[in-house]
């Protein structure tokens, strides 16, 4: 604790971190432009912004994971340029990442001291390890936790606190917390905030990323709002929530969304989902999509959109509920039955789920139709090549020829190949998960035009996207998900981003928001909701 004493000296400068004109591009994509930001000692700076606004990149620049293209970072009074996380840590910057980074098999103590185990002549010194681990744990209010048990046995909340203890052991002057509350229950969040308040009083500066607007005022001092790589403004944390939302999403939707809406609202229902439930991830989902319609699925990361699309497609099982495609009922988890009845999925991550990278464009387009076009087990090579070529041309896939490995294409053209597969299969119900993520503007518009084409021809599209302007621009109807539920539906011509965002960030766990109908034990809100969370109350070590 003595380490903090010096910083409480009133004569010490209060400025801890200063970013000046910080910019970063990945290839041609400019992710951050000219960011100027200052964080003081004993201050909680909340970083707010939509998915893709540049928050993660910004903290990675500060932590030394990425390097700056231009601009400068001054930390603790001296200009710095970290080339690795280790250098950043040595200077006193610690990061708690969104994903847990513990080694589950190792003990609590070993995790806290990971990478800096005290040793003598190459042998670890167990006594010193336990002592230092307990010191670090005391700071996060877990002084009576058994430091010898494996971390994997603990709940998510404890694991998160152990990561914070790991960060505090390096005597961090600046602590970066990337959505630490996503996996926590309300009580656990309160305990975490108490620890943050304690750290603040000891002069630790913090950068806190959260999507939950109600957390901003609870724990923050100031709020920096990022949008599309620009710092919009830095405002006090008690700023009105509606204004914060406007700052986050307020951009004009120009003609980059060429949606041609169909007028008739009573066409045939192609996809009918009734009362779909899957653990705590999907709660009583009802959803219909009609021929010619684009249904936009909006919501935060972890709201359950991916889980819903995968459950409908049959990639994952669901517990109860009914899925019907073109009037035929599908069995849970029967992916190939779904494809036969007309389903197609463009998955979230084309690299790991959409494409076989070494295989050619022709093969990748043909996988869904490989067996149905074959003769006695032999591939219809000429036919498949011709059809793949035609559909690739229709989608304007830019390639040398259909035999080119798909790995050689740009992100946008790779994505078109995934679309082409379902176009060739004649899918009537297309499920799209982040269809234009990492896709350049030109290819994006071509994908939108393809969506227009197939809906005009009588197909239906369900499109989950974190890109709010895309959802507003391309959907006919917007369905908002939050914590595994559908919390609202808005016709697209009346929807505003503020409206959608307000539904997406609303705290559905509190009794008043859910109308008191559901007990507040549902802690969805994240892909990690299924992670073991034994719900042990966080032990209060007297720091509050």
């Amino acid at each position: 604790m003595a380490t903090w004493a010096g910083r409480e000296d009133p004569s010490a400068p209060t400025e801890l971190l200063r970013l000046t004109g910080v910019s970063k591009s990945f290839g041609p994509v400019s992710v951050l432009r000219g960011i100027d930001l200052t964080v003081h000692r004993g201050e909680v700076m909340v970083l707010l912004g939509e998915n893709g606004a540049g928050k993660s990149t910004l903290i990675k620049l500060i932590a030394g994971i990425h390097r700056l293209d231009s601009g400068s970072i001054q930390f603790d009074g001296v200009p710095v340029q970290f080339h690795s996380v280790a250098q950043g840590e040595a200077a006193g910057i610690a990061t708690i990442h969104q994903e847990l980074n513990n080694v589950p098999q190792l003990s609590v103590a070993e995790n806290i001291l990971l990478g800096r185990l005290p040793s003598r002549a190459g042998f670890v010194t167990p006594g010193a390890i336990r002592r230092r681990a307990r010191q670090a744990l005391a700071r996060v209010g877990l002084s009576d936790l058994d430091v010898d048990q494996p971390v994997g046995r603990l709940g998510v909340a404890h694991q998160q606190l152990i990561e914070i203890a790991h960060a505090l052991d390096v005597e961090a002057k600046l602590l970066i917390l990337d959505e630490p509350t996503a996996a926590l229950t309300a009580e656990e969040i309160s305990a975490l905030f108490a620890i943050m308040v304690d750290l603040r009083s000891r002069g630790v500066g913090m950068i806190f990323i959260s999507h939950h607007l109600d957390e901003v005022a609870r724990v923050g001092d100031r709020v920096a709002v990022l949008r599309d790589g620009d710092l919009i403004d830095v405002v006090p944390a008690d700023t009105d929530q509606a204004r914060l939302v406007r700052m986050m999403v307020g951009r004009d939707i120009a003609d980059q969304y060429p949606r041609h809406r169909q007028t008739d609202g009573e066409s045939e229902v192609l996809l009918d989902v009734e009362h779909l439930c899957q653990g705590k991830r999907l709660l009583d989902i009802c959803l219909r999509a009609r021929a010619g319609e684009v249904v936009g699925l909006a919501g935060l990361v972890g709201a359950g959109r991916t889980e819903l699309l995968r459950a409908i497609f049959g990639a994952d099982h669901y517990d109860t509920g009914v899925v019907q495609v073109c009037g035929r009922r599908l069995a849970s988890g029967r992916l190939r039955q779904g494809i036969r009845e007309g389903l197609g999925l463009v998955p979230e991550d084309r690299k790991s789920q959409g494409l076989v990278a070494q295989a050619s464009v022709r093969e990748n387009i043909g996988y869904a139709t490989l067996a149905s076009t074959a003769h006695a087990g032999f591939v219809d090579r000429a036919g498949q090549a011709g059809r793949a070529e035609a559909v690739a041309r229709r989608l304007r896939v830019r390639m040398r020829d259909v035999d080119q490995p798909v790995a050689d294409l740009s992100g946008g053209n790779q994505q078109k190949v995934v679309f082409a597969r379902w176009a060739l299969a004649g899918s009537q119900v297309l499920l799209l998960d982040e269809p234009t993520r990492g896709v350049d503007v030109g290819a994006r518009v071509e994908i939108y035009e393809f969506i227009n084409d197939i809906t005009a021809a009588g197909a239906t599209v369900v499109m989950a996207s974190s890109d709010l302007p895309e959802v507003l621009g391309m959907s006919d109807r917007i369905v908002v998900m939050n914590s595994g539920r559908i919390v609202g539906e808005i016709p697209a011509d009346q929807a505003t981003s503020d409206q959608v965002m307000a539904l997406a960030v609303r705290d559905v766990e509190s009794p008043e928001a859910s109308g008191g109908a559901n007990p507040p034990e549902v802690s969805g809100e994240t892909d990690r909701a299924q992670a073991p969370n034994h719900g042990d109350p966080i032990k209060d070590g007297g720091n509050r």
């Binding site: 990945f26 290839g27 041609p28 497609f313 990639a315 992916l335 190939r336 494809i339 999925l345 998955p347 690299k351 790991s352 789920q353 959409g354 494409l355 076989v356 990278a357 070494q358 295989a359 093969e363 996988y367 869904a368 490989l370 067996a371 074959a374 087990g377 032999f378 591939v379 090579r381 040398r400 490995p405 790995a407 050689d408 294409l409 740009s410 992100g411 597969r421």
Partner: protein, 330 residues
């Protein structure tokens, strides 16, 4: 990722002006290695290597390892590994011999039972991998032990003479040894399956990206079972060749051959990470292993040193391949 793509595009652009022959050499490193090896041996052995008699000898010697490796190619393309092929070869020949001598079935039926036994052994591996979710390394390691154990159980640890149907695999048709015909037939079968059939193309998809293959609607589990069953069938054929040449099924036959078959596939340019591999490459890999063996015999190198050389060659071949791919992608 973006820079990798740019690199890949440049690499292709840079290759285009090159002549077809230079590209052929670049794409067929193992084959070039085999040619160089043969030339060296021809001179080192004072022109004994490239005689019809010796070449026929090399092909006969290569046949068992090549047939095992063709089966192994399916598995490795699908991102698996099959450690049980040696034991499966031993077991299947033993089953045929036992069916004929002890159970007194006709020779043809005995052969069919042996081949079917190979399919079953492979299918069990496949079921353990696809439904049991065992890593293929573990599932087939268990099968390696089980199949070898069963071979000893059936035979009581003694060799059993083979029926005529099995002995045929070690005989001659006119001037041509049957093992060479078997090598050709199984090689063509392997190439046809890999290139022209639904199951073959699906193997590349499953090995390249199993999740993408599943989400595209390919029956991943069925494909995996078929892959291992094919490997088992090829192992059975190899087992018949070994037993046929000896006119008897030996309980310890083909022990350790699984490692040679894996080496042949990998030397032939397949990736243990899956998704890449060709029948022609595997043939070249098997020939390289056999030619080195044959050459060292011609040069009177002791059998002890031959093992050392073999290990060095395997490491070197794959190392060259790694360097070649690294060199291209950076």
């Amino acid at each position: 990722m973006t820079t990798g793509q740019v690199g890949a595009v440049r690499r292709r652009a840079g290759q285009d002006p090159k002549t077809w022959s230079r590209r052929f050499v670049a794409n067929n490193g193992p084959l070039m290695g085999l040619v160089v090896l043969c030339v060296i041996l021809e001179f080192a052995s004072h022109h004994v290597f490239l005689t019809a008699g010796n070449l026929s000898n090399v092909l006969v010697q290569a046949s068992t390892i090549a047939v095992l490796a063709f089966g192994q190619t399916f598995v490795i393309v699908a991102a698996g590994i099959d450690l049980s092929v040696g034991s499966a070869a031993g077991l299947t020949a033993m089953v045929s011999a036992w069916m004929f001598t002890s159970a007194q079935f006709p020779a043809g039926i005995a052969l069919a039972a042996g081949l079917a036994c190979g399919v079953v052994v492979g299918a069990v591996n496949g079921l353990a991998v696809a439904w049991g979710k065992l890593p293929s390394f573990i599932a087939t390691l268990a099968m390696l032990s089980i199949a070898r154990g069963l071979t000893f159980v059936i035979s009581g640890g003694k060799p059993i003479p083979t029926p005529s149907s099995v002995s045929f695999f070690g005989s001659m048709i006119g001037p041509i040894p049957v093992p060479i015909i078997v090598l050709a037939v199984m090689g063509i079968a392997c190439a046809v399956v890999l290139n022209l059939t639904v199951i073959g193309r699906s193997m590349y998809a499953v090995g390249g990206n199993i999740e993408a293959a599943r989400l595209a609607g390919l029956p991943v589990k069925r494909i995996l079972v078929t892959v291992f069953a094919l490997s088992g069938l090829f192992a059975a054929v190899a087992g018949m060749v070994i037993a046929g040449r000896l006119q008897s099924a030996q309980p310890g036959a083909a022990t350790g051959y699984e490692l040679n078959s894996i080496a042949a596939v990998v030397i032939g340019g397949a990736s243990l990470a899956g998704g890449v591999g060709r029948a022609s490459g595997t043939l070249v890999g098997a020939l390289i292993l056999t030619v080195i063996n044959n050459g060292l015999n011609l040069l009177n190198v002791s059998a002890f040193w031959q093992q050392v050389v073999m290990g060095v060659v395997i490491a070197l071949a794959v190392f060259i391949d790694v360097i070649r791919h690294k060199g291209l992608s950076h």
